[in-house]
Amino acid sequence: MTGIESMKTWKERQHSFDLEDRNKAAVTGLVFDIQRFAVHDGGGIRTLVFLKGCPLSCRWCQNPESMSPRPEIMRIPHLCIGCVKCVAECPDQAIRFREGGTVTIDRAVCSLCGECVERCYAGSMTIVGRYMTVGDVMAEVERDRPFYTTSQGGVTFSGGEPTMQPEFLIAALKEAHARGLHTAIETCAQVSRETWAAVIEHVDLILTDIKHMDSARHKELTGVSNGRILGNLKMAANMGKNLRIRVPLIPGCNDGPENILATSEFVGSLGAAVEGLDILPYHRLGEPKWAQLDREYPLHGVLPLDREEVLAVKRLAEKNLGNVTIGG
């Protein structure tokens, strides 16, 4: 037995939270999840690093805990065993236990001290986001290296929007390349041209969404217009970067035939750099997380499309494009 404790795994990091981590000597990024064996986020078996913070506020966001660029408290109610240690230990008295078992958090008062996280053995009380160095992230990414070799996989930085933390992202991408890893990013491309150019220099595959082709509608749905996004995609295509374009297919938002045709036409115009278009059918799996953050889900009550509807969209997109798939 070695008896040597190795570097903390991502999972072990969830047992405690320290806001001071952001003041480490090296550059840090705010990471809200690291998922191994990701198989829909670039080729092969990959490790998916989720960076926190996003310039968009898409109404269907499946990772609402990623939107804010700061750590935030989140409570998963069904894991709670009712020990109320969180209430007792909170120095800010931000956590209240109500009759009938509901727990409320006063987010304005919470100082993110992490006491409740440490005491909640069941994992119901969490703080989303950990400040990590590139080295911390790479230690986790390296663990699945053998799988990247046998499956032609690698590392994918996702979000949130990874380019919101450009310094950290570029450092991490460079480090991954230096270690011989294939790199991908999942990005909304809403970022300055300069940053975009600096980031994609170190990226082997860009996975990016087109939410809507109509700029005004895009703004209604996501909070920003689409000019910069489409411009950045053209730039990447002109640079010959590998692109996979994805359309999150949201009922009543962007699934009309006109938009599908316009999207596929635009993607076609990007030329050979685009290796394919993925249709990502709407799902509701993010909804509980909105509630866990005390936020209201804008698409509450919207049901997923059925298989036939999704296939119809695929056929429509295929009028302009060869390689259209469903799912990543």
């Binding site: 037995m1 999972k11 829909h40 078996i45 499946q62 990772n63 499956s151 994805r246 799902h283």
Partner: protein, 796 residues
Amino acid sequence: MTKNPPVVVIPQLVGPSDRIKRVLDRFVNTAPEICAERAVLITESYKETEGRPMPVRRAAALDKILSGMSIFIQDDEIVVGNQCSMPRSAPIFPEFSCQWVEEELDRLEKRTADVFLISEETKKKLRSAFEYWKGRTTNEIASQLMPAEALEAHNDVVYTVGNYFYNGVGHISADYAKVMNKGLDVIIAEAQAELDKLDFTDPEQLTKMHFLKSVIMANTAVIKFAKRFSDLAKSMAGKCKDKARKAELLEISRICAKVPAKPAETFQEALQSFWFVHLVIQIESNGHSISPMRFDQYMNPFYKADSIGSEKAQEMLDLLWVKFAELNKVRDESSTMAFAGYPMFMNLIVGGVRRDGSDATNDMSFLVLQAGANTKLYAPSLSIRIHEGTPDALYKKAAELSRMGMGYPAYYNDRVIIPALLARGLEREDARDYGIIGCVEPQVGGKTEGWHDAAFFNMAKIIELCLNDGVDKRTGKQIGPKSGRLEDFKSFDDLMASYAVQTEYFVRLMAAADNAVDMTHAKHCPLPFLSSLVADCIAEGRSLQEGGAHYNFTGPQGVGVANAGDSLTAVRKLVFDEKKLTLEELREVLETDFEGREDIRQMLLNRAPKYGNDNDYADDIAREAALVYCREVDRYTNPRGGKFQPGLYPASANVPLGSVVTATPDGRKAWTPLADGVSPISGCDTCGPTASVLSVAKLDHEIASNGTLLNQKFHPSAIEGDKGLENLKSVTETYFQNGGFHVQYNVISRETLEEAQANPEKYKGLVVRVAGYSAFFTALDKSLQDDIIARTEQTF
């Protein structure tokens, strides 16, 4: 050996024919029954042969059964030969044990798993037969032979030697190829030649005489049995109005008159010869896990020499697969809890390397996998050997089959298993020629008496005993050595020392218990037919049971590696390292099964690292916990002159073994199941399949040469499309490059997800893979889980 996979041409593969669909339909609509014929016939025979040498009595009994039992040929059958008076029915083997059968006769129709119909007439016949066996069964004799404390530890389920204590041994692969290529006539001639050489004045040679005579009697009985089918087919043909069927029956009649006595020539002859051997082994003794092993290797030459084409050959194979599934065995009710689904564990393997080290893939490898896909039956158990030169095409075919969700094929790693067998003394070519017995046990066929399921050793019970000074908390009895009380341990090393003391003591008793059972089989239940098909029994003049095989082993399994490892890890981390918990507190919560202290249970579950997450802290301790067991087992020798060799797999014993163990420091509640095989505890592998297999690969799989078992679950979303097949291959390949032994995949079904809804704790690690999304299945609310369940069987 080439590192570059050879180019293989995939034979044309066809789906199930109409004939197969009819036969499968008939199969699923046939209810298993109990058949009394074998029990009645063997009892009569034993009464007739009192006082004669035991091998001769066994051969005479086999002859009586094969001559007297009902035989039939069903519509559409091409390969013929039945085990009982009705298809899917189970015979009774009173010579091994029958007390439980008698006690449970009225329950067989009423129990929840593996129900057997039984008529009042059959019950009457059985009760009358059982009278003769009181005090004469191998079970009763072996329990007299066992040291009292070894029997007690078995009864307390520190280990269980139940398999061979109550049943025949089975767990073997005969030399099928020899029968197909040379015929039983040649085996009879070999036995006669040995007989002719004997000097009867030498007492030892006189003993050999009885065995060799029994071989001739048994083989002659089998040839007569085949002849009965020839006659039956002929008479059926005479009455058959359908021209095509009439021709088939006449062909069956011709073939059964020829094989297995003479060498097979056509593909159908080879299948028929194979089947008679496989069938009679089941009738002679009631052991399960009689394994055909490298079927593609010995069957392919007959296929290639025949001009029937792949379509016809596929249909014959598919029909044979149904014959496999028709073989049946009745187990006692408590065993059915662990072995539900009428399993016979007949392992059939394809691929790997040849005896010369080159890739062994051939047409039959593909046809065999296709037969699994066409029949979707639970038998035979399909396996595939993987080496550096396994062709992509075969890998892909196997992955497609895995994805169908039947749980097979199981994958085996030549790169670990061949060296492991070499280290156990197998000659190089024999090691390369290995196949798999039963669940996961490697051996070379036709040369080995491996006694692979010798015992299940309860590693979680050892945890209980090592924390409690050797006291069984369930019964309050002092059953182990006084190795220290929990609150006396000053360091983690003290705890490990206590674990080692208890393991050493009980492995020793287990070895004694196994050897007592082994000696009983040798003296009271030699098997002349089976022995004649395993080298060197004829040359040595000794039955398998007396050590006549070329290689001899005894393989007891450790069960609950993850529970033992995670329990030790939790104590080390939370008590000794972090001092979050005192030993007194720990003892208290374990004694009260965490009553009112769910917070501490959550601490044990979530704040100590768990095996299965690629966390070295936990993985190193799990490895050590397994090694302590494996090294102890390594020390012992069996009465057949062979070595003990450890395995780490549970069959399904993790359920009954868990039912006697109190709460453990891994956060497991009292009396609940243990982890399965070398798999992590269900729900504790929360970092996904890559982390899980890297953890498991850290165990020493080479020392556990009797086999280790990893079940890996996937949600269909993770393995959809061609990309999914590649990912499945990558997981297998990486596990094997890192030293894994065996892996099989379960595709999560609607039922599993529904269970995860009901028992979220056991499925904490279950991730539904969606692009760019982050959450666990159990973190979703009910309506969303329902969405996923609805999508599970309909992946886009």
